[in-house]
Subunit: 300 residues, 2 copies
Amino acid sequence: MSIVVVGTLAFDSIQTPFGRVERILGGSANHFSMAAHYFTSIKMVGVIGDDFPQEHLMYLTDRKICTKGIQKIRGKSFFWEGLYESDMNQAKTLITELNVLEQFNPILPADYRQSDCLFLANFDPELQLSVLDQVGAPSLVACDTMNFWIERKREALEAVLKRIHLLLLNEGEAKLLTGESNLIRAIKKMTQLGPKMIIIKRGEYGAMLYFQGTISILPAYPLEEVRDPTGAGDAFAGGVMGYLAKHRNYLNEHIVRRAMMYGTVMASFNIEDFSFNRLKELSWKAVEERYLQLKQVISL
Amino acid sequence: MSIVVVGTLAFDSIQTPFGRVERILGGSANHFSMAAHYFTSIKMVGVIGDDFPQEHLMYLTDRKICTKGIQKIRGKSFFWEGLYESDMNQAKTLITELNVLEQFNPILPADYRQSDCLFLANFDPELQLSVLDQVGAPSLVACDTMNFWIERKREALEAVLKRIHLLLLNEGEAKLLTGESNLIRAIKKMTQLGPKMIIIKRGEYGAMLYFQGTISILPAYPLEEVRDPTGAGDAFAGGVMGYLAKHRNYLNEHIVRRAMMYGTVMASFNIEDFSFNRLKELSWKAVEERYLQLKQVISL
């Protein structure tokens, strides 16, 4: 079962306590795909400028990640510059240049539209709605969002939430969306907005899953060196969705919990190096080994 | 196997988003004992002023908590006033009146000295050393500490760390003690200071255990209402130590992980109400039920 992912392809300049990198490859659709393609085939939708390296698209194609949905527009690609200080959980945005993203109007190629599995990364909820209008009735639609949209486009966001199955967002976003400082109460309120499954991302503290009335909590995989947290949430989503799509079973609690473990594993690889460099070089054996190590960390 | 606990008995005035309470019962030795006595018998050491309610000592005695080691001194009991704002993980100290605690010189009654299990709550490491000098060779010595001692009495604290088996402290303290911003590296450094077991308390995110080269992570029990986090760390320690003392087996990873689960359970009860009110009224059945619920939350 392939996954359609709609999101950004970007250049990132990032500074962390471990160094500074200029204009490396980033973007939600990239981080997601680089994690998810270990589980199933991926169809990407996004927009790039004419400065985006052709080699990367070829690299994706080699990995059987379909790039037909990536539009190339005259102009510069989306650019983000961020800084992580000692707290690696929180990036400080220094520069955001939307560039071609301002003209982004996601159009799904015909063969994408019957896909059974869709991930809407964090972007304008009005465009998320437009994507939802282009697909049939996928069995699994998941979305991410951020404070900016919660504050500025609440109505469109609420319309999106009514049409998805799984909402992924971080703690601060969950609290802002619901006005609740307690996560359990925030989850209860969010289920009333539509999604039947909710995953709250908690950075180095892991993730919390709400599924059919029960709460599961998973810690992050403990790492001695976190080089760059950028894209961790998207790589996490890639692992979760990848596992679910592979197993074609979205309503089994056991499967969903396992999916969250694979999300955790893929996020841990993502943050071990800048960009998605570590995700590029993985073997399936390395993924399975870390899965077993994570199991060890949480076992009684 | 009984546990000797050395710590404070206090009056606390606390303000949280749920209300304000004046001069309720608190103190590390109290919170610890109220959690640990569900597992084994407790011998308390501490100091109170002549304003401390006799009924509380009688209440403890009724619960088979030995109060012989509690010295009564002319003057006022230790008083702390704190404020929790929307972030219930972090108290803001408004007032600390040491009062009789300034004259605290812990003396263990003769029948306490052969105890096999000792918990040194957070107090002056020079006094922690004096307690260690009074005991034989307990199989399990655990201690807690805080930033104040890490910064001001580092030498004495390091002498304590050489003589204990289990160190319990929170994330910020672990980072301050080691100068490491990464917890796994902080743990590695701390093991070089002495303790073979380390538990890092992470508030609403749970706890991390280091034991014989392996890391285990446990989330906190998810609660919809946290009324007052004061004493959660001591109630957690009470559950951990209580379980270990009951099972008389401190070197089995399985047992230590279970102990951490019971610590988590007891901490969750502690924070559901002000003071240790919720811990007062528990049944063993309620403890076991929550243990099973926690198991469910973390199960795959």
